[in-house]
């Protein structure tokens, strides 16, 4: 498929022009960065102490910016973060080694069971950030949007619901040389977290199509899309490279596109903080204040700076209530 080789040269002049255009366009942008109804964080006097967070690399980098912002308000607070993987998030909270666990996948039953066995209550799981999952295609691909039905028809072995399998780019509206080109589905393995998540959310648990290519990791998955323009795959937005582009989401073909960088993009994976909250007691003040900060407008701006999707006010209020924090309405 020589005609489908991507153009990997990105001329510096083009980049400069693009940057200038962006500068000119965004200078007047009135983008609402985070939900303006998120609570504002108010500093309290004399807060001291330490917080240790242990767990996933993905959320730890955002936690580092929360820690930066929080220490700016409270120079006497020490915050330590250890990146040891999601596997240690709940066990570290259970053992007391961590104040908070950092998790980028669903809690597993045995982890929750071990916590419950020790404390007699369940761990509280807050979602202070979300990872946008991109549907990537090659940058030269003429398709720019995708709908839930199209995703099912591309990735599911049996799309069901009256849908038929989509095998060529022409079936998604591409014309010319793309019309007859087959769609190459790029995936991971059936046990990978992002694949399990996508399967549950998009396919409703249905099996993936048998000819979906299995890639060793997210980096190689994106490289596969960059290398073969007929490809399509799903992975966290942070794996983007210049040779691929994320598709905008439409609820139905022809609908209003929802860009992956905006609040309405629905393909997001929760990133979680595990809290040891005894239902009969308040959290220590330092923990309450840190969580208030994370769930405030400032904390959510940090989430955006880290490349993730912020939560809305109603999710923040729900999370605050779960750890016993009152909110002035």
């Amino acid at each position: 498929m020589k005609s489908f080789r991507p153009n990997t040269i990105r001329a510096k002049t083009l980049l400069s022009i693009a940057a200038l255009l962006v500068t000119a366009t965004l200078a007047n942008a009135q983008e609402i960065a985070v939900d303006p109804t998120l609570p504002v964080y108010q500093r309290v006097e004399g807060l001291k102490g330490s917080i240790t967070m242990i767990g996933s690399d993905t959320i730890a980098q955002v936690a580092a910016t929360w820690a930066d912002g929080f220490r700016k308000l409270y120079p006497d607070v020490q915050i330590q973060i250890q990146v040891t993987g999601s596997v240690n998030a709940i066990p570290a909270v259970t053992s007391g080694e961590a104040t908070f666990g950092l998790l980028s996948r669903q809690p597993q039953q045995e982890e929750v069971q071990a916590f419950h066995a020790k404390y007699g209550y369940l761990p509280t799981v807050l979602t202070p950030a979300q990872e946008p999952i991109a549907i990537f295609v090659h940058k030269d691909n003429p398709i720019s949007t995708i709908s839930p039905a199209q995703l099912r028809s591309i990735f599911a072995a049996n799309p069901g619901k009256g849908l038929s399998t989509i095998k060529t780019w022409g079936e998604l509206g591409a014309t010319g040389q793309w019309e007859k080109a087959p769609i190459l589905a790029q995936g991971r393995s059936n046990t990978t977290g992002s694949q399990v998540y996508f399967q549950g959310l998009v396919l409703g648990g249905e099996a993936f199509r048998a000819d979906m290519k299995s890639n060793e990791n997210n980096l190689t998955l994106v490289q596969a899309i960059a290398a073969d323009p007929r490809s399509i795959g799903f992975v966290g937005l942070d794996y983007a490279v210049p040779e691929v582009k994320p598709l905008a989401f439409v609820y139905q073909p022809g609908g209003t596109p929802v860009d992956i960088h905006t609040a309405g993009y629905p393909l997001v994976r929760p990133l979680e903080i595990i809290v040891n909250k005894n239902p009969t007691q308040n959290l220590p003040v330092i923990q309450e204040e840190f969580l208030k900060y994370v769930l405030s407008r400032s904390g959510q701006e940090s989430v955006v700076r880290g490349g993730f999707t912020p939560i809305q006010s109603n999710a923040a209020l729900s999370a605050r209530a779960a750890v016993g924090l009152k909110t002035l309405q």
């Binding site: 980049l15 693009a18 940057a19 962006v22 500068t23 965004l26 200078a27 942008a29 983008e31 960065a33 303006p36 109804t37 108010q42 500093r43 309290v44 690399d57 993905t58 980098q61 580092a64 910016t65 700016k72 308000l73 973060i81 809690p107 369940l122 761990p123 509280t124 799981v125 979602t127 839930p148 039905a149 995703l151 959310l201 997210n218 980096l219 966290g236 942070d238 210049p242 609820y251 139905q252 860009d259 960088h261 609040a263 629905p266 239902p279 701006e301 955006v304 700076r305 880290g306 490349g307 809305q312 006010s313 999710a315 209020l317 209530a321 750890v323 009152k326 909110t327 002035l328 309405q329």
Partner: protein, 450 residues
């Protein structure tokens, strides 16, 4: 109708309760129980505390990929299945009478309020997201039948309207609040969506005492307060044309550490020797023991020409008195990094760094938060720092620490590290427990980037 007393309001209820139009409220028909129940002691890992919101919104009802509205707009109400309900204390099973149907024209067509706007969109009609924000003045708890008032703050809108602890807010201008089909619709968001320019909304409230429903017009309090003042030039020189003044409200956290800016006002094309200003701020930032100061600077053609030479304390112990400040000539600086006042130069620099680190432009949202962060007092070097810690940058380095150290060194120092430097920075990388921005900060410190 503004409710001046509870007696007046109750009289209104008697008049309005005769309306026959049904007002469907989504609720649990059997019990008055919050969905944010955190006292669950039984082992049930499928419903962990804190996940109620996500269990509901990502459940089958509202899942755009696999819900009942599959293949159509997932937020389209025509495919929703609103439940009938009974508010506790009411006698009409299945429905609750709408005391004034004319106020709620949208409630009578069977639509669920979810349809009016996709729930994942931010609701903000104000041109400035920091302004026109409203507060009722209550602490409340969201239930699946509405929003229950737990405490009323003295002197604020709720108390003026006669609301009291235990009252249940069922709707705001006809839009239900609380948990609806498992999803939370909070009062704060509805206030922003529905309050008029003067902050008026009509609440549908169930009175705690007699369980009757009433329409209660309330004028919400603005969340924003205004500090007034003026800037005087110390010299009698004319300001250059196209001068821009920036006034910042800052909190001094601790002697020796950088103050935190929490409100900024920018005034274009200033002239004359005295410049009046009004700067809006959220009183939620202010505490009685805080130490707050105002700072001002004036720039022309991107170059700062005047600034305050001293701190002017303001908002001390809750007072809000006008402040008169003086600015004096700024010595020319030759920094490559743009002054905080030059927004276009800041944007150009941020775009350049995004392309260097992430090989892409910032999204509008990312640019907006960075400009906000810089307004709040973050230095420009923080952009570099956080981009160096960004997951996408690490991915661009194939998630390999050695490649990562090489790239960061190249970008911050201007060359690849030699063997000794590589060994040192790799050791530091490992010592930072995997927090990459901390390593970038060490390299910044080593080469004197501030």
């Amino acid at each position: 109708m503004k409710r001046n007393s509870l007696t007046t309001a109750l009289a209104c209820i008697c008049l309005t309760m005769t309306a026959s139009t049904a007002f469907a409220v989504i609720t649990n028909p059997t019990q008055n129980q919050t969905q944010t129940n955190q006292t669950q002691q039984q082992f049930n890992p499928t419903m962990l505390p804190g996940q109620e919101f996500y269990n509901s919104t990502q459940g089958t009802n509202n899942n755009p990929f696999f819900g009942p509205t599959f293949n159509t707009n997932p937020f389209n109400p025509t495919n929703q299945n609103p439940q009938s309900n009974t508010l506790p204390g009411t006698t009409v099973p299945g429905t609750v009478p709408n005391p004034n149907p004319n106020l709620y024209p949208n409630q009578n067509d069977g639509r669920n309020r979810v349809d009016t706007i996709p729930s994942t969109q931010f609701h903000n009609s104000a041109t400035n997201p920091d302004q026109n924000r409203w507060r009722l003045g209550v602490y409340s708890k969201d239930l699946d039948i509405g929003c229950k008032i737990m405490d009323v703050v003295p002197g604020l809108a709720a108390q003026r309207a006669g609301l009291e602890a235990g009252d249940l807010i069922v709707g705001v201008n006809g839009y239900q609040v609380g948990y609806i089909n498992g999803e939370l619709y909070d009062c704060a968001t509805e206030f922003e969506r529905n309050a008029d320019a003067q902050g008026w909304v009509t609440l549908l409230v169930q009175n705690v005492k007699d369980k009757t429903l009433m329409n209660v017009p309330v004028q919400l309090d603005s969340r924003m307060s205004t500090l007034k003042g003026s800037i005087a030039l110390q010299t009698q020189q004319q300001l250059p044309p196209n001068s821009v003044a920036v006034i910042e409200l800052r909190e001094v956290i601790q002697n020796g550490s950088a103050p935190v800016t929490f409100a900024t006002k920018r005034i274009e094309n200033v002239s004359g020797y005295s410049i009046p200003f009004e700067i809006d701020y959220d009183p939620a930032h202010i505490s009685s023991y805080g130490n707050y100061v105002v700072f001002a600077s004036i720039a022309s053609n991107g170059q700062e020409v005047y600034r305050t030479a001293q701190n002017y304390p303001v908002l001390q112990q809750g007072t809000n008195r006008p402040v008169a400040i003086t600015v004096q000539t700024t010595k020319p600086t030759y920094q490559q990094i743009p002054t905080p006042i030059d927004k276009n130069a800041q944007i150009a620099q941020i775009v350049k760094w995004f392309n260097q680190y992430l090989s892409r432009d910032p999204s509008d949202r990312e640019l907006a938060v960075w400009l906000s962060a810089i307004q709040q007092g973050y230095p420009m070097s923080q952009v570099q720092l956080e981009l160096a810690g960004h997951t996408q940058f690490f991915n661009r380095c194939n998630r390999d620490p050695q490649t990562y150290v090489t790239k960061v060194h190249e970008l911050l120092v201007g060359r690849v590290p030699n063997t000794a430097e590589m060994d040192y920075w790799l050791a530091r990388y490992n010592a930072q427990n995997g927090i990459r921005s901390d390593l970038a900060r060490e390299i910044q410190d080593a080469v004197g980037i501030r």
